[in-house]
Amino acid sequence: MALKMESKTVGGVTVVRCIGRIVFGDEASALRSTLKNILSTSKKILLDLSEVSYIDSGGLGTLVGVYSSARAAGADIKLTGLGQRVRDVLQITKLVTVFEVYDSEQKALAAFH
């Protein structure tokens, strides 16, 4: 599978670093279940996508799915580290207006408080 996830906690925020490709199939499922797990204990999640090289339409669907169910459950997810490709996809689909996107981890973490 071409997606790894590493998480750490910084000041009450769970920072999840995604490394690889977010694509339909195992990768998207892994992202969904990992975030679901984290959501059971943490209500503040920062997704660091700086090492995501590619996201396809299925992966994007999963990202939005997780995002809206987290929102519905009262949790807060923010994004940071958008590479050019991910940024383009979010731009074209206008999803950049849906997600809260920050330029750096610091700025994103500050925004949680």
Partner: protein, 559 residues
Amino acid sequence: MAIGSASNPGLGRASDAFPSLVLVQGQEQRSLVLDHSPFSIGRKVDKDLVIADPRVSRDHALIMCEVDGFYVADQGSKHGTFVNGERVERQKLERNDRLEFGVRDAAYVIFHPVGVASSTAREFLSQISGMQISTDTTDLEKLTMFLDAARKLNTTGVLDEILVTVADTTLKLTRAERAYVFLKVDDGSLRLAAGRNSRGEALIDDTTISHSILDEALHSASEFLVTDTSQSLDLAGRQSIVAYDLRTVICIPLRKPQVQSARPKTVHTVSSEGLGAEIIGALYLDSRFASRDISSVSNDILRAIATEAAQLVENARLVQAEEAARVYQRELAIASSIQQRLMEVHIPEVPFARMSGRNLSCKEIGGDFFDAVSTEDHFAIFLADVCGKGVSAALLASTLQGMVYSHLVARMPLAEIVAAVNRFFTQKHLGEKYATMVIARISRDGELEYVNCGHLPPLVVSQQKVVRPEAGNLPVGLLADATYESARLKLHRGDRLLLVTDGVTEAENARGDFYENERLEDIARRATSLEEIFAALADFCGGTPLNDDCTIVELVYTG
């Protein structure tokens, strides 16, 4: 050899039902699936198999599925169609046939190569129907009856009949009074599948048999269990044995046959592998005190029955599963042809505009589609890209197409159309399934209204200049509370509007570069037809296969 699970063996390999084509081009090989008919071959970009060589005609040949198999038919090509080196007009295809289209040195196609994929059930059947039973024991000669039944399998294939035959034959061999065949069902329990008595009458009630002995047999590691109730006092009290005066009960667990394993020669050497095998059912035989004693039936016979009956039952199940898979496959083929017809575009003729569209599907049924609708003073086109592939994407695409089409016919405002579609899809909770799309509607006077839902911005080509209007919205089907707005443009005579899916901009060449918007805009500026754009795209990609469907729709305002 792998065999499917006992509940539906073979079904998991349903996709093998379509033959494959392997295109060999120099050092490169590419597999294609013949999942629809006719399958077109030619130089034109809309062919199922595009061979970009000037010696290949634009509409070169078709491969068609007919009642008795697959045929290749030349479509009046200039340089001919060849099967195994001979020029043909029309020829039935056999596996491993080598097909060449005009160009005889650079590329060829192998039809359905042997050894790539095959039907497991059928191969398995042919393998075991040729199996011989050792005849060194005279008792075993009687088992030729089983073999006869096994041969019949290929023609009957009806599980119930086979089970009754198993019961009857077993009764003859053991001289027992009653025989029952149980099969394991999905929840793991045994269900009565056939029952016969020695007079050849059907027994449908299993309440008078000893279920405790049946259970015991299934949980023991033995090949079979013979119980003489007169010999074992602890059994004498059991309900069914008392009530029905049972004397001897024989239980034979039916284990999934191990294809490679030989039958054990002696009573005690039993391969542990065989006994560990999955239980697929059980054969239960009994007789009462008042009648004959079956406790002395030879162990060899019982062992042979255990093996042969299991083999038969498994074969019958395989045949049944194969038939089910065939029916399923037929249904799928029908569904696929309906889908293709739904997606066929009938371009309406209007005096002030014309449209054309091309779709290049990479593999299976893709998620791209487009359509056009004309109403009194308007002409509307739409292009959508449903996320995912295969049947699920096709279903969603058909629904989406139906909704958009009918709303356009009803002249609903574009923003309302996509809002309605979004509401519909998000309310149905389709599990992260969504679509990106553009609808554009032009009026007689060149006023263009469009709504872009998460799609690449359209290209407006005017006076050799390309503009990418950025107005856009969220995709449909992702977020229930999304709102949509349309935008407007004024087109002048000769202006063109191009809608493209991201398969075009993300088409890759061998170096891993994407086609990107810049190249697309550049060719859009220069090209006078969609074919030119697709040709440029093909040039860029070289031999690198597409990752995603490529679709371009063009609307020209003619004034």
